[in-house]
Symmetry: none
């Protein structure tokens, strides 16, 4: 799975999605991420989707599910870097991602998670 | 009911679920726990589900109800030790347990309850 990377920054996992994901890639990301949240005692998950020009309904749902599972494991999820055209498309599809926090940039997302980065 | 144990730690009740519960077991746990919360002036309830590989919708609902009843009796409930695969399944079932606090470990759960353990 080379289209995504997961990096640990203190007690935050920074997930970067570099290219469009197949449904299978999205599910694998969800599994890997949820396992790491539980194993590493992660407090926050930051998902950078600035590399994506399209977020389809499956990926939107997977992001929502990642946030839900992380919340059950006591971690907060913030999606950052959404392009305006992606936001417009999601709203048109009726996918307003309730329960998912968003921020414009990685640094704003880190602030939202109350983390100052690596420690 | 040998699949669960309830131990008092200061003003916290630590509930350990060691094996899959039938619906009947879950209801009995709810009754016993709620009675003890009222009788003992418990401030926090910590439910350790790390022994469970599956949390079905009935148990998820019961956990939610235990938290609701405890809150009415002025006690906070934290569920700890949820496995990642359990979290993913609950989210897929749409059971995100709103109103239920979670922590990864018993010790993180105790911190959340503001307790330092037995007194």
């Amino acid at each position: 799975m080379t289209k995504t990377s997961i990096a640990g920054l203190g007690d935050v996992l920074l997930v970067t999605i570099q290219g469009e994901l197949t449904d299978h890639d999205a599910l694998r990301l969800q599994e890997e991420l949820t396992t790491r949240v539980a194993d590493e005692g992660t407090r926050g998950v930051l998902i950078d989707i600035s590399g994506l020009e399209i977020v389809d309904s499956f990926l939107a749902r997977t992001l929502h599910d990642i946030a839900g599972a992380s919340a059950l494991l006591a971690a907060r999820t913030v999606v950052v870097g959404m392009r305006p055209e992606v936001a417009i498309t999601l709203v048109e599809l009726g996918l307003t991602l309730p329960g998912l926090d968003t921020a414009l940039t990685v640094s704003a997302g880190m602030s939202l998670l109350g983390s100052t980065g690596p420690r």
